[in-house]
């Protein structure tokens, strides 16, 4: 092998190594994205500027939009939350928890990182039977939008579940209180039944508000 030929081989091997390293890095990033479910694209400067201007208007709906830094952050919260009505251990990584306790209800709202979406757990008085609550009647009236099923749980037995394109809601009635677990803006197909069962098995009703 001549000196020139050996150099060509070395250059080729180097290029091949770089290609392999690049492919491995891209593959890792893709795996990481799937693992966290986060969209890794940052907003462009122009987008950020537009949104900042919109949010200065008090009536703008952009004020309701929540912004998040992609990927796991040091401030991300654990999985156990408490309200005056219930405690819950979530089998999800969450962020931006909001707890609201009133005289008659308790609300826990969190952002779920994987699969990305929002989860609102709401405890409120049940005025009549579960089947007659407006949340149930609405979903049953709109059969073209919602698919009804039941989720078997160890602690609470079968729980009513309604799914639509980007939302999944569970409804549980106990002692004249209605507990709803609503995932929204999410990919329902990625919500594992085992996680939902684990969530409800980690749900403990404490005191009425």
């Amino acid at each position: 092998m001549t000196k020139l030929t050996r150099r060509h081989w070395l250059i080729g091997a180097g290029m091949l190594l770089c290609l392999l390293l690049g492919t491995a890095w891209f593959g890792w990033q893709m795996l990481k994205k799937n693992a966290t479910g986060q969209i890794l694209t940052d907003l462009s400067d122009r987008s950020q500027e537009f949104i900042d201007q919109e949010r200065k208007k008090s009536s703008s709906s952009w004020n309701q939009v929540e912004f998040s830094t992609p990927g796991p952050q040091s401030g991300d919260q654990g999985s156990r939350f408490s309200t005056t009505c219930f405690t819950i251990s979530l089998p999800f990584t969450t962020r931006d928890q909001k707890v609201e306790n009133t005289a008659s209800s308790c609300t826990l709202a969190v952002r779920v990182l994987s699969p990305p979406g929002r989860l609102v757990i709401w405890a409120r008085p049940l005025r009549s039977k579960l089947d007659e609550d407006t949340a149930i009647t609405l979903r049953r009236l709109k059969k073209d939008v919602y698919t009804e099923s039941t989720l078997k749980t160890t602690t609470y037995g079968p729980v009513l579940m309604f799914q639509s394109g980007d939302e999944l809601a569970l409804f549980l009635a106990s002692k004249q209180m209605l507990y709803s677990f609503a995932f929204t803006d999410t990919t329902t197909a990625k919500l594992k039944e085992s996680d939902l069962q684990a969530m409800l098995d980690g749900f403990t009703i404490t005191l009425k508000p």
């Binding site: 009536s59 709906s61 009647t137 009236l141 809601a169 409804f171 929204t184």
Partner: protein, 350 residues
């Protein structure tokens, strides 16, 4: 017998009139019609000489003929009264007496029965039914406008007949009877949901579509009610809901209902009556706070509130419609499942 003999005979009978220490017939007739009323502190008697007593009469299919003075001095037998159920009454019936061309001071008693007078009762002065006859003048019984006999049983046929009396010894036999039937108590109620006045079936859903921030949204469909009742004191329609507002499980939020001018508040939800009509009775009336105009709405709570009234009177073909209005603010969490269950019930006062 010549004329002188006849005069002597007349004088003889005139001075040979019956008398006793207790009673005295002060006047009596002879021949074709002499009669007298005799009074003392204890008794009175009517006497007639030379005529038959008049207890029997000739009865025909159309007319009866009572012979003698007794029938002659009796009041006229009234014709059958008018006895009707003009407005599906379930506990009363209307009667109008016939005077029989008797004088205005003639008194009438009205017998009433549900078994063709096997058992007879009488209409009392307060228009209820009692065991003893009550005599009142034509005008006291309501005159030409008549009156209602009250306290009757539902779905029952009653017969009434009338007798007249002006003074003593003048009471007539009963008139021909008239009959009428009370109705069953009824309340018919229906709900429809439609932009215009038309009948629709369940399920009754009113859709808002998208609630725009800061502006009032009125659902295209209105809630319509039909109400028809013969309830003595009318009927009312009440409204309540499941949670006092539009509830979203997805957002964990409620657009709370309130009595307000939605154009002046940042958020709210409520009902406003759009129209009220009826073909008879009532009228159907809007009840505050649902009787506002423009964007003024009345609150819906979990406790029932009266929204329509028939003004405490029976009503025929009452029809009302209701707008459903809502407004979201910039802080109202967006969600696709805001909903409420509104219940409207009708109640009659029988």
């Amino acid at each position: 017998m010549n004329r002188t003999s006849a005069r002597l005979l007349t004088i003889f009978f005139l001075f040979a009139m019956p008398a006793s220490t207790a009673y005295e017939m002060r006047d009596f007739g002879f021949g074709a019609g002499g009669s007298s009323v005799s009074d003392s502190t204890t008794y009175s008697s009517v006497s007639i000489v030379g005529e038959q007593g008049g207890s029997d009469k000739n009865v025909g299919t159309t007319y009866n003929l009572g012979p003698g003075l007794i029938f002659t001095q009796q009041s006229n037998v009234p014709a059958a009264p008018t006895f009707t159920n003009p407005s599906s009454y379930y506990n009363k019936l209307k009667f109008v007496l016939d005077t029989g061309s008797n004088p205005t001071d003639t008194l009438f008693a009205i017998a009433i029965s549900t078994d063709d007078f096997v058992t007879t009762n009488f209409i009392q002065a307060d228009n209820t039914i009692g065991a003893s006859p009550v005599y009142q003048t034509y005008s006291t019984w309501g005159g030409a406008g008549g009156a209602n006999v009250i306290g009757l049983s539902v779905s029952t046929t009653y017969k009434i007949k009338v007798k007249a009396m002006q003074t003593k010894y003048t009471e007539t036999e009963y008139s021909v009877a008239a009959s009428a039937t009370t109705s069953a108590p009824t309340l018919t109620y229906d709900i429809d949901v439609s932009p215009t006045d038309s009948d629709t079936g369940a399920p009754y859903t009113v859709a808002f579509g998208t609630l725009n921030v800061g502006s009032v949204t009125t659902a295209a469909d209105k809630v319509w009610i039909d109400i028809d009742t013969n309830a003595e004191s009318g009927a009312a329609v009440y409204v309540y809901d499941g949670a006092g507002g539009l509830v979203s499980s997805n957002a964990g939020a409620t657009i709370t209902s309130a009595t307000a001018d939605l154009s002046l508040v940042s958020t709210g939800y409520g009902l406003q009556i759009a129209s009220v009509t009826q073909s008879a009775g009532g009228p159907l009336a809007k009840v505050s706070p649902y009787n506002g105009a423009s964007e003024n709405v009345g609150v819906i709570t979990t406790e029932s509130s009266q929204i329509f009234s028939t003004t405490s009177l029976p009503i025929t073909a009452g029809r009302g419609s209701v707008y459903v209005k809502a407004k979201a603010s910039s802080t109202t969490p967006a969600a696709g499942d805001y909903s409420d269950t509104i219940t409207m019930i009708a109640s009659g006062s029988f």
